[in-house]
């Protein structure tokens, strides 16, 4: 083939101080294709893309765009070269409108009004062409994550990007939103745009990409045609060993109820009722998965159970009522009652990013025996304990003194998990356990959860990944608009039925008939 590559990287290297994030990486992406990049947490994917987008400067190497050697010293140059990027953590101004975010940096002239008017027209056009509907006047902070992502794509298209980079775009999306995104990407490919897609999900790679590259420890280990490979092979290339892609577990043996929730209601700060009478039971020795499109009250349910959010109704733990509004409705009291909690948002809830790993490993349990019994905390014991936990959970690097922010997402998650599981709770609340985590780590995390269940503990799992819910849960409850729409056994349901329940349809058959 003699066609010129849309993007060609030659010998890119980049070090952050002593860390070599990219080592001599070369890659070629043809125009009008979707190119996937996979790799473990910290493999260097985001760094490579940031270099392409001019966000970082490479130490060495060349960038060729459409057959021309191009210097990309800053994002402006990247934009000029027709590159657009959707970062993993969106680069949006939260209290600006969609329009303002779109025109930011691409205004026509010193006054805003003409730019805004023009953008309004262009957005309307783009929305129709690529299914990218968003309310142009809405504030970003009022939009769902999926819509925020659309704004990011719109930003790139508004700047007439021909090359679009997406870094882990589906990590925070619901399945429906992810499907929608892929439709958009397909549309863009048909228009001749070139797309680079970073993801941890092999299913997505197989579904949409044309070619795929695998990265490991800063190096590009392989580039293959998607059609000529399979998930198992990719997983092995990525992790360097065979990976079990299916959760391996024996049937559950549910015993007596540990958690009994009845008629639980919660009204948030804005006065909106988020939980509208939840009834739910979780027994010892079973995993109950809660499926649902995010924003339907799952987070609030976990918050109320975990002790931050007042509620009415009743929660019984091992037969005893929990305080829902008073002094004992905080996280500390919940932990005292045997409830462990791996929160959805590890960056803002589960960890203090600037604390060391050993400090994080007692977070929430700092009044417990882990910290010693004296007036002062027993730091030596805490460090030893943390080291032991990190070894058992294979946290890499196994250094308790390292700050949490210096661990990759997967390893951060393991630190939280180790803390909560090693406490041996009667009930473990666990939210989005594998968000943004690479498949090697996912396998490990799933194993831990199943082991805990087999030890006779109750587990309540919330995840937007239907695959994860389906494969881990012993029983599935579907939430919609603050209510449980129904419970199903994984063996007796499928993604379609769950999808309908998640959309608020209680009786799928009814829908089929009328």
């Amino acid at each position: 083939m003699t066609e010129t590559a849309a993007i060609e990287l030659k010998g890119i290297s980049k070090a952050f101080g002593p860390v070599q994030a990219n080592k001599d990486i070369s890659i070629k992406v043809m125009p009008g294709t979707i190119h996937g990049i996979i790799g473990e947490n910290g493999a260097g994917k985001s760094t490579l893309m940031s270099i392409l987008y001019g966000f970082y400067k490479a130490d060495r190497g060349e960038i060729w765009i459409n057959g021309k050697k191009t210097e990309i010293p800053d994002s402006q140059a990247a934009i000029a070269a027709g590159i657009g990027m959707v970062f993993q953590h969106f680069k949006l101004v939260q209290n600006f409108s969609v329009l303002e975010n779109v025109i930011l940096g691409a205004e026509d002239g010193a006054l805003l009004r003409p730019s805004l008017n023009k953008a309004r027209g262009v957005l309307k056009h783009l929305a129709e062409e690529y299914e990218l509907q968003v309310d142009p006047e809405a504030l970003i902070e009022d939009l769902s994550v999926g819509h925020q992502q659309r704004v990011e794509i719109l930003k790139a298209l508004y700047r007439e990007a021909d090359i679009l980079i997406l870094d882990e775009p589906t990590g925070v999306l619901t399945p429906a939103e992810a499907d929608h995104l892929f439709r958009i990407l397909n549309g863009l490919r048909e228009e001749g745009k070139t797309i680079i897609l970073i993801t941890h999900k092999l299913r997505e790679i197989m579904e949409i990409t044309d070619t795929v590259s695998v990265m490991r420890r800063g190096e590009m280990t392989a580039t293959v045609k998607t059609a000529e490979t399979n998930p198992e092979q990719l997983a092995e290339l990525m992790v360097g060993r065979k990976v079990l892609l299916q959760v391996d577990k024996v049937p559950a043996k549910p015993a007596e109820p540990v958690l009994e929730v009845s008629n639980l209601r919660h009204i948030d700060e804005d006065g909106v009722e988020r939980l509208k009478g939840i009834d739910l039971t979780v027994r010892a020795g079973e995993i109950v998965g809660i499926a649902g499109v995010s924003g339907n009250g799952q987070s609030e349910l976990m918050h109320v159970l975990g002790g931050y959010g007042h509620a009415t109704g009743s929660i019984k733990m091992n037969g005893q009522e929990l305080d829902l509004t008073g002094k004992h409705s905080d996280g500390r009291s919940r932990r005292d009652r045997g409830i462990g909690h791996v929160p959805e948002d590890r960056h803002h809830e589960g960890l203090i990013l600037n604390f060391s790993a050993w400090e994080n490993s007692v977070f929430g349990y700092h009044h417990g025996p882990e910290t010693g019994s004296g007036m002062l905390m027993d730091i030596k014991a805490m460090k030893q304990e943390a080291q032991a936990k990190m070894d058992r959970f294979d946290v890499r690097p196994p250094h308790p003194w390292l700050a949490a922010k210096n661990f990759s997402g997967g390893n951060q998650q393991k630190i939280v998990l180790a803390r909560e599981i090693e406490r041996n709770p009667d009930l473990l609340l666990i939210g989005q356990p594998t968000r943004g985590v690479d498949i090697g780590a996912i396998e490990f995390i799933h194993q831990q959860i199943v082991q805990l269940r087999d030890a006779g503990k109750a587990i309540l799992l919330v995840s937007v990944e239907l695959d994860e819910i389906m494969s881990l849960s012993d029983r599935i409850a579907v939430m919609f608009d603050g209510q449980i729409m129904g419970e199903r056994l994984p063996s007796e349901t499928d993604q379609t039925e769950l999808g309908l329940l998640m959309a608020g349809v209680t009786n799928p058959k009814e829908l089929a008939h009328g």
Partner: protein, 321 residues
């Protein structure tokens, strides 16, 4: 209380509010761009000195104003260097610059004029004159409106009118221009600005520079319009009050106007109504003196909700993954 007294108090409020307003808007530009500035006091002070010194020596108050702005800008430049270029701590930089201004003004003034850290008195005609608005005299006898127009609205110096015009102008710049959009964005999410291909550093320096210009005007107003020269420490904590007004105003121009007028009004009232007698008991002057501050706390506690600063405020911008 008759109209004349009310007008006197309001008139006084306007004069006391003007420097606060200029400094507050100055802080608004800086902090909206994510650079906290507790050095407003120092910038005002150094400008008060420079404007008085140059107005006196050149005999031209406009040159004085320019010198004041220039001196204030010099401090802004240091603040920018420390907090933008070298990603230093913005609070420390502000504290340091306040000290620097406090020391330097007296040191230089003493060196130049040998009058003990003061500038000589600037003759009346070399200062900013009070401007009598058209028809002010003719309309004075019209009931109610007349005194309001000719005694309250008319009769302030050019700088005071500039200060009040700065409010709509600031609003317009912030919310209706490209510069304003980018400036607000860089205070909320500098990474968004950076990835949109706009220089974070350039924008922030522009904001800090604007802050310097406005503080410069504020200082010149004190020394060459309200007063006839520079006296050491003559800003007397107004920079801190302006900062409080800024937070009070939740970083919005029109609210800033309200907050500064309120502070000015409270001070004017406290000055005008000392030694109030309630029967046998005389309200101590100390209570009147503290009243503006007490009322501020009360208002803050009772009516003003949480003030959320610009999200990226106070933090230097470091590219993040």
């Amino acid at each position: 209380m008759d109209l004349a007294v009310i007008i006197q108090v309001l008139d006084s409020s306007i004069r006391l509010s003007t420097p606060l307003l200029l400094a507050c808007l100055a802080g608004l530009f800086s902090e909206r761009a994510g650079i906290f500035d507790i050095g407003l006091e120092g910038k005002m002070l150094i400008s008060a000195f420079a404007s008085a010194a140059f107005a006196f020596t050149t005999g031209n108050v406009w040159i004085g104003l320019m010198a004041g702005i220039g001196a204030s800008l010099a401090l802004s430049a240091i603040h920018g260097l420390a907090s933008i270029t070298f990603r230093g701590n913005q609070l420390i930089s502000g504290v340091a610059l306040n000290f620097l201004a406090s020391g330097l003004t007296v040191l230089i003034a003493q060196n130049w004029f040998k009058q003990g850290g003061r500038t000589p008195t600037i003759p009346e005609e070399q200062r900013f004159q009070d401007i009598t608005l058209p028809f002010a005299d003719a309309l004075r006898d019209v009931p109610v409106f007349g005194p309001i127009y000719s005694d309250l609205i008319s009769g302030h110096s050019a700088l005071a009118y500039i200060a009040f015009l700065m409010v709509p102008l600031t609003w317009w710049v912030l919310f209706r221009t490209r510069f304003g959009l980018r400036l607000r964005a860089v205070g909320e999410a500098p990474d968004a600005v950076d990835t949109a291909g706009v220089s974070v550093i350039g924008l922030r320096f522009a904001a800090v520079g604007t802050c310097g210009v406005l503080c410069g005007i504020a200082g010149a107003y004190l020394a060459t319009s309200l007063q006839a020269g520079f006296v050491k420490e003559m800003t007397a904590g107004r920079g801190y009050i302006a900062l409080a007004a800024l937070i009070f105003a939740k970083w919005r121009p029109w609210y800033a106007l309200m907050a500064c007028l309120l502070f000015g009004f409270l001070q004017a009232v406290a000055l005008r109504f000392q030694n109030i007698r309630l029967g046998d008991f005389v309200i101590p002057v100390q209570l009147m003196e503290a009243l503006p501050y007490i009322l501020t706390v009360v208002i803050l506690a009772g009516f003003v909700g949480k003030a959320i600063p610009p999200r990226a405020g106070g933090e230097p911008y470091v590219k993040e993954r």
